[in-house]
Symmetry: C2
Subunit: 150 residues, 2 copies
DNA sequence: AATATAAAAGACTTATTTATCCTTTATATC
DNA sequence: GATATAAAGGATAAATAAGTCTTTTATATT
């Protein structure tokens, strides 16, 4: 449903937001290394995000990427839109040309409420809200430095 | 989540199953035309499905693709597996390296039950069950010959 | 002013998915 | 047996997604 690029983008933005209180900007290199994302690839994605006003950047020494106050008010859908340039929620899950409440595909009653919930969460919560939730829940954006039982 | 190929495959199998009572086999050409799927592409997919015993085929005049009694007992997951060769339900929706009930991503509580429901439906119901449901609900596998309000 | 740092920009490669085309094989019908 | 029909097989092309590399531009620090 989401491409690698937009998954990377979401993680990068949340990671940036998490670190923001330290007032230090992060380089693309650092972000890529922290999140195990190919550095050159995440650099391209970060570039797109800056253009779309999802994140901010500053060139030169001590420069890097950071979240401005305004940036924090964007939502996840803004990120996805900036990276993919299309609505990922449209279209029938099974690919039927006609799929609606009146003419539902066999999984319509499972998929429709799921999309609805997801869309609301991606639209109504700000990046700040997400970052707070992540901090509260102890969610790991990276696998570095944590012990996972496998 | 599903590729075009597996969406096409599911529609083709259900279409075949629907027409099965007429005891007439369907050509790949006919299936492609009925479902608005490129003929050469659906032909390749049908070939895979035959190999995986999801559908049956017969060469020559009056030949074509059809569903045997045994074929009807397969489920949707079998189709997806035959076409994609992997589990489409694995992995975190947001791409987090760690995502579980203990360490949930921000949408884990929305995604997990959705996947669960979908997996069950795709696993517990047979192709026959699906085809019956479609017939009962008047679901359209194709847009041909129906009037849709746009 | 020279230097080092880091993003911006653009060209390029690789992989995967989607789709097309052509030849071969099986088989029903005449 | 000749012919027509339809799937099987294989090779290739086009589109999209994923990832890499090199050069240019801005800027803080010395």
């Amino acid at each position: 449903m989401l491409t690698n690029a937009s998954k990377y983008a979401i993680r990068a933005v949340l990671h940036l937001t998490k670190k923001m209180d330290e007032a230090t900007k992060m380089s693309g290199k650092e972000i890529g290394s922290d999140l195990d994302i190919p550095e050159a690839f995440i650099a391209k994605i970060l570039q797109k995000l800056v253009k779309a006003n999802i994140i901010s950047s500053h060139k030169g020494p001590k420069g890097g990427f950071y979240m401005s106050k305004e940036n924090l008010n964007n939502n996840i859908n803004d990120i996805i839109w900036a990276v993919e340039g299309r609505d990922i929620f449209e279209g029938c899950f099974m690919g039927l040309p006609v799929c609606s409440d009146e003419n539902p595909c066999p999984v319509h009653h499972i998929v429709a409420p799921f999309k609805e919930k997801l869309y609301m969460k991606f639209n109504d919560l700000t990046i700040k809200d997400f970052a707070d939730e992540i901090k509260d829940n102890g969610t790991h954006l990276t696998i570095k430095g944590i012990n996972v039982k496998i």
